[in-house]
Symmetry: C2
Subunit: 199 residues, 2 copies
DNA sequence: CATCAATATGGACAGTGTCAATTTAAGCAA
DNA sequence: TTGCTTAAATTGACACTGTCCATATTGATG
């Protein structure tokens, strides 16, 4: 296996994505500059342009992949086959929260509209795919029931997304707390199911 | 009133803040560059440095003021003097949602940790002030009740913050919908109070 | 082998934040 | 008033960024 000529990388596109993910995870989205990615691979600063025309396009590819990961994490959880709808909704919530807390910079990127090519068809498709299981979990009943199911879905999704966002921003203290043995996130999900019963 | 010498602006600090707010509202946080702000006031590109050492410091001042605005909007609402706690919690939620939807770029800036000097004492103080009314609305009862009250508070705050964030990112469709005459946000707040009662 | 298109290169440009040396003038003490 | 100190503004510079361009290399196809 002789040393290949180094001029053409061979698989630069994938290498760029890997390197960009590494930078994203370690330094956040600001760390993902075209030149830094190129530098980390030892290629010219303008080499990436052949595969990602702009920085936005690169970040969009990262976000698309991240949406993909999140969605399949949810799907995996749901395939364990719990029957109870309430349990299935918890799986959805747990999956999103786990992904957000484990991959903070990826999760943040998902919602950085200013960094993304928001009309990229692949990105849009993956965003839709994320909502699909949630919608599916709520679609049933007649017209009126659907209306309130929609509201329940938005309520759940809002709470989950808000909770993760606040946690990632360090706006919930203490960060890692428990409520009678359960992590806080389980408690707030239950609160939504049962109502906070303000008396 | 003769024309003053133009070398010294006289009140550059306030003028910078005003101009920066204008840019923030119109173009988002990316539009708030030191040089753009200076340009819009017709001063040298490095004049702002005398008042805000770095861009982060300028944005931090904007965020601090925005927190202030949001907090006083909440306080104003609460001073109308509704007795029912449930109603008072709704006032909190409504105030945050209204501020977020009316000042999207200011609201977004509040949570852009990467753009802010997150250990600035003024900023921290204003952030605390935001949570104060929410905490106050829940503090009562014994130890165990407090624990669950805390959970309710986090649940409500998470849902409100998540809802605004999703709306601002265009992730809730349709954007402006109603549920039996009420805007969607009222419906999800009610959902949290009463529970989504997944059967 | 010859050619072509894809891919990588280096150089350039405008924009940015930030630093440094300098100039201006306002405020204050004598 | 005069003179000094100092805050506040100036210009200039540097390194970094994204993006464009002309050029060079090479893999693949005829």
């Amino acid at each position: 296996m002789t040393e290949k000529s180094t001029y053409h990388h061979g698989n630069l596109r994938d290498a760029l994505l890997d390197a960009a993910f590494e930078l994203l995870d370690q330094e956040g989205v600001d760390g993902v500059t075209i030149r830094a990615v190129a530098r980390s691979l030892g290629v010219a600063h303008s080499a990436p342009a052949n595969h990602f025309k702009t920085r936005k396009d690169l970040l969009t590819a990262l976000a698309t992949r991240s949406f993909e990961q999140l969605t399949s994490a949810i799907q995996n959880g749901l395939q364990q086959g719990l029957e109870d709808r309430r349990e299935r909704l918890k799986v959805f919530a747990d999956s999103v929260i786990a992904y957000g807390l484990n991959h903070p910079n990826r999760y943040r990127l998902l919602w950085r509209r200013d960094c993304l090519a928001v009309d990229d068809p692949d990105l849009l498709a993956q965003m839709d795919a994320l909502y699909e299981p949630l919608i599916h979990l709520f679609e049933q009943g007649d017209q009126k029931e659907q209306r309130s199911a929609e509201t329940s879905g938005i309520a759940l999704w809002s709470m989950v997304h808000g909770y993760v966002s606040l946690r990632l921003d360090g706006n919930l203290v203490p960060l890692n707390d428990e409520v009678s043995g359960e992590p806080r996130e389980r408690a707030i999900i239950d609160a939504l199911f049962d109502g906070i019963a303000s008396k």
